[in-house]
């Protein structure tokens, strides 16, 4: 009798708990579908013919079978391979430069002692508040009229390499993960400041560099406003710009299958990189929140 009542009491605790768990999972799953469906729609739509895309009801599966005409057309007629390669070329060079200068300056700000260090660091952070709106027009004029850098990638490399955000990120990482003793030992062994950087700092900070590298690579591959202002040569444009042009030049009906195929090709590499590094990336951003917020 007492056993039965205690069992009943157990159930009375368990059932609301199970119900609330089920409710949570339903909520999380619905939300997950909202996030995944556009990706699915893009992917499956890239294999559809216009008769599928413009049928009376949107379809979840290509009615006329998987059709790769759009992919073939992208490469054969529209030369989409070029923008695709351009995008990753632009992004890789931008990322490598950013990592180098961020690690170097981050090391100086984190571990070296020199007059005015903290004031300079603060000044660098303050420049992040400078609104891009105020400099957009003269930046454009500087690139086009003074430096004659339109249809080159220099505007996306040189000003971006020494980025305040990257330096800040690496400073925080180096300050937390490189022990002073190691640097002192290296100095005693006769390493210069740069020698200590190459032999001691760089090997230790690879995890921090890889997170910054992925963030930079993703953002560089998705750049839009800058390329829109400065790139017009079909041999120089990047994938987002090419896709925007597909949308802009379609006068009759938007060629969704073509745009979807191009989007799938541009997104796939980023998703692969993201999945390969997602654990480091996510924990990196989460810890960044604490440092940035506090």
């Amino acid at each position: 009798m007492s056993v039965a009542s205690s069992r009943r009491r157990q159930w009375s605790i368990l059932i609301p708990r199970i119900v609330s768990r089920v409710f949570l999972y339903i909520l999380l799953t619905v939300f997950a579908i909202v996030f995944l469906f556009p990706f699915y729609d893009m992917f499956i739509g890239s294999f559809m013919q216009d008769s599928d895309l413009f049928s009376s009801k949107p379809l979840l599966w290509p009615q006329g079978g998987f059709d790769i005409t759009s992919y073939r057309q992208l490469f054969a007629e529209l030369g989409y391979g070029r923008p695709l390669i351009n995008t990753f070329y632009l992004a890789i060079v931008r990322t490598i430069g950013t990592l180098f200068f961020a690690a170097l300056a981050g090391y100086a700000f984190a571990k070296r002692r020199f007059p005015g260090r903290d004031k300079l660091f603060f000044a660098m952070l303050a420049t992040m508040m400078l609104p891009t709106q105020a400099t957009l027009i003269p930046w454009y004029l500087l690139m086009v009229k003074v430096l004659k850098w339109s249809d080159t990638y220099w505007p996306f490399w040189i000003p971006a390499w020494a980025s305040a955000f990257g330096i800040f990120w690496m400073r925080q990482y180096i300050a937390a993960s490189v022990p002073d003793e190691m640097l002192e030992a290296a100095t005693i062994d006769g390493c210069s400041a740069f020698g200590a950087f190459v032999r001691v700092v760089l090997p230790v900070v690879t995890p921090g560099l890889s997170v910054l590298g992925i963030l930079t690579f993703v953002q560089s591959s998705n750049l839009f406003l800058g390329p829109l202002l400065l790139l017009s040569d079909p041999d120089k444009i990047t994938a987002p710009l090419a896709l925007a042009n597909f949308k802009g030049t379609t006068i009759i009906a938007p060629r969704y299958s073509l745009m979807f195929a191009g989007s799938t090709l541009a997104t796939a590499p980023l998703l692969i990189i993201f999945f390969a590094f997602q654990r480091q990336l996510i924990s990196g951003i989460m810890s960044g929140a604490i440092k940035g917020g506090a």
Partner: protein, 308 residues
């Protein structure tokens, strides 16, 4: 006598003159020099130039004609400018609180103890962050298509009238821009709040529960106050980001219908790049810039008062 003085070991070492210290650390300055050089060339110089252009009439060639505050006066009277400002602020004050609210709810859910699959959900919500906003806009254009889109199919399934999303009413188009922005950015917010939640010591929760606090009270009295630094950090960063909103309206609506989704950045682009009105656009850029700085400063001041 002077010899004896010189031979005596120095007791008080005079601080070296500054230039000597600087010279001694030349390598450190070399390490940080690239940032300051590139900021001077690509940040400060354009800023000074913009100031000059903003007081001139200039179309990119020939001599600049000094016109004083004329450009600023023209910009302040321009009805399109006012509309783009109102649009941008509307987007910001809808997106900011809802974005923070939704993100906190999902971060708290994902932070539940023993929740299997937490990592999978976290990853899925973050996926749009790595996707180009141009591509997101293309997909959303199809999802919200008047006749062939999933959203209107869903509305019809629920027995509702289909909506002309992108070329119909002003609020329909605004709604699509808002949904797209949330879809792209909310995963990042969730991650920030998850990071904030995980930095809260479990002992604080235990103490609150021992004192007999209900789950609601724990959330309002413990969790939310401890998340405040993240909320403020996000508010400041997101405000700057939203004042820069360009890609979404450019791709989705081109600013339409009837200017309903034209943001400050889109207006600036149309003025300066589309219309080559460099003087007007520079003056306009400065005014937006001051506005953004002023908003950020107010936010920082409020934050100081709030958290102390």
């Amino acid at each position: 006598m002077s010899d004896a003085l010189a031979r005596r070991p120095p007791i008080f070492r005079l601080p070296k003159p500054l230039w000597k210290q600087v010279a001694q650390h030349w390598m450190d300055y070399l390490f940080i020099a690239p940032f300051f050089l590139s900021f001077a060339v690509f940040g400060l110089y354009p800023l000074g130039w913009a100031l000059q252009i903003s007081f001139s009439r200039w179309r990119g060639f020939g001599p600049m004609e000094y016109v004083g505050l004329e450009n600023y006066r023209v910009m302040l009277k321009d009805p399109y400018i006012l509309q783009s400002l109102v649009n941008t602020l509307e987007f910001a004050y809808i997106l900011l609180p809802t974005g923070i609210f939704i993100a906190i709810v999902f971060a708290v859910i994902l932070n539940t103890k023993n929740l299997t699959g937490r990592g999978v959900f976290r990853t899925v919500y973050f996926l749009p962050y790595v996707t180009s906003s141009v591509i997101v806009a293309i997909v959303f254009t199809q999802l919200f298509d008047d006749t062939f889109g999933w959203i209107n199919l869903g509305l019809k399934g629920l027995g509702l009238q289909p909506v002309r999303w992108l070329r119909g009413s002003r609020w329909a188009a605004k709604t699509v821009v808002i949904l797209l922005t949330h879809w792209s950015g909310i995963g990042y917010n969730i991650l920030l709040f998850l990071g904030g939640l995980q930095s809260i010591e479990p002992e604080i929760y235990e103490a609150a529960r021992i004192d007999g606090a209900s789950e609601w009270q724990v959330f309002w009295r413990v969790t939310l106050p401890l998340l405040q630094p993240v909320i403020f950090f996000l508010t400041i960063m997101a405000t700057i980001g939203l004042m820069n909103m360009f890609n979404q309206p450019y791709m989705l609506t081109g600013g339409g219908p009837r200017g309903a989704t034209e943001t400050l950045m889109l207006r600036l682009y149309n003025l300066g790049i589309g219309g080559s009105r460099y003087g007007d656009a520079s003056a306009f850029g400065f005014m937006i810039g001051f506005l953004v700085i002023a908003i950020s400063l107010v936010q920082i001041r409020v934050q100081r008062r709030w958290i102390g």
